[in-house]
């Protein structure tokens, strides 16, 4: 469904963030993208929805070549890619409801969005999503009154209300505590399987990634160095991706007791 071919990004400073990345993701697959800071994970997902313009190479989403679209067509196709951010990136001075509805901006005209006159179906949908993530009672609170985990749930709602086919998730748990991190990861993965969404999840936490995804891709200095099932991530492989370290504790299965504590 999503196909990256020879994707290259060289920044103006001369840093090559991506070196000819080739990656294909089938419908409904949740993929974790791991790698050290600066490996190009954020650049990779931003090149897909072209918040960052790739230098060369192509990105196809359901047969549409995103890298060739003009600005109008790009906006229409961005609606099909929901994005979730590390620092939540909610508009803090707007209410939770406005933040969720802002996910529909690609579908409504300027004046309707100016007057906050979103179609009733969008409003219904927003309430349904907020209920699904357990924040229905927060709908009229301002976004900056929420805790980190709550904000990330609102961020998830904003991405899902776009009715996307693909989620681009950038370090969803990096600003959260371990328990909330697991809850957020579980929520994202559950929602993806409920809706048959594909997702690319950038994540630092290898153990957390292994708990939730079917496929792990390791990025190192802008190149893919690992692509396989979570169980294939050996200490040698992690050393290859991240550098020398004792990895035994990281790849141990998470015990059921810990799992329950996280609930």
């Amino acid at each position: 469904m999503l196909k990256l071919d020879k994707l290259v990004k060289t920044y103006n400073t001369g840093d090559q963030a991506l070196k000819s990345v080739v990656l294909e993701i089938p419908q409904g697959q949740v993929l974790a993208l791991i790698g050290p800071s600066g490996a190009g994970k954020s650049t990779l997902i931003r090149c897909i929805n072209r918040l960052v313009e790739p230098t060369s190479g192509t990105v196809h989403l359901d047969g549409v070549e995103l890298t060739r679209l003009g600005s109008g067509a790009l906006r229409r196709d961005r609606r099909r890619m929901g994005m979730i951010f590390q620092e939540y990136a909610l508009v803090e001075r707007l209410t939770v409801m406005e933040n969720v509805l802002s996910g529909r901006l690609g579908y409504v005209g300027f004046w309707r969005s100016f007057l906050r006159k979103f179609p009733q179906s969008d409003v219904d949908n927003a309430y349904r999503l907020l209920d699904r993530v357990g924040l229905l009672h927060m709908a009229d609170k301002r976004a900056d009154e929420l805790s980190g985990g709550q904000r990330q749930r609102v961020g998830i709602c904003r991405a899902l209300i776009q009715d996307p086919a693909l989620l681009l998730v950038d370090e969803p748990t990096a600003s959260l505590d371990p328990k909330t991190s697991r809850q957020i990861m579980r929520l994202i993965v559950e929602l993806c399987s409920e809706r048959g969404l594909a997702a690319i999840i950038n994540i630092h936490d290898v153990a957390l990634a292994k708990m939730f995804v079917q496929r792990v891709v390791g990025l190192e200095s802008g190149a893919i160095v690992f692509d396989g099932a979570p169980d294939d991530l050996t200490p040698d492989m992690l050393t290859h991706i991240y550098g020398e370290e004792d990895w035994e504790a990281t790849i141990e299965k998470v015990t059921d007791a810990e799992e329950e504590a996280a609930q």
């Binding site: 961005r78 001075r93 961020g155």
Partner: protein, 272 residues
Amino acid sequence: MVTHTQTDGTRTWSRRTQKQSLIRWVAWLIGVAVFVFCWNRISEVTTWFFVWDAPRIAGDIFGRATPPRWSYIDQLWGPIWDTLNIATLGTIISLMLAVPVAFLAARNTTPSKMFIRPIALFIIVATRSINSLIWALLLIAIIGPGVFAGIVAIAIRSIGFCAKLLYEAIEEINETQVEAITATGASRWQVMLYGVVPQILPAFAGIAVFRWDINIRESTVLGLVGAGGIGLQLSASLNVLAWPQVTLILLVILVAVVVGEWVSAKVRGAII
């Protein structure tokens, strides 16, 4: 910042090296010498008789100026109302002009850093560099004396101030919020509306009331050159040496400014 090791092995520390201390000492010496020299020069060209006489004259004027001529207040209601209107309308017009200028000047929203941004910055500098009294003089020559000239003078003078503060606020916004709105497929204007505007709204409101507060003070003097408002009465009273009226006018201005400051403090407190 210097550590010395003495011969007996103890380490002493001083904030500056000897050379630095010496330089500072010489700098102070030169500073004091220049001050004394200047004091002498000024003293030579001052007619000290007038200066020694000043307290007596001040006392004399104060004696004549009190008590204020309270009955004169009837003639001040109109001008003070004009003054407030000049300040308020001038501020509103300047904000309408300053907002687009600010968006054109801010690095992250300008359509062209090469061509449009310098023009916007030039507008900001040009309008700020000329005092509102001088703008008023120019405008009176162009559109004739009266309240309208005052409003336009205040409006032009305020563009630079408001636009400068506003574009700095725009440059300080959190870009990931803008990114997030862009990622939903929103259009350029929708990104402005949802990603940028909410973030700068508090700054905008703060700037608006702050400038309004300044403009109340500025508009009180515009009448001196004939641009309407209470300054006209002030200059008329000064010209005929009607000191009790001057006192009353100054009191009225003081009250207006205090009220303005109180309102702007309240508004800013409510927003932030």
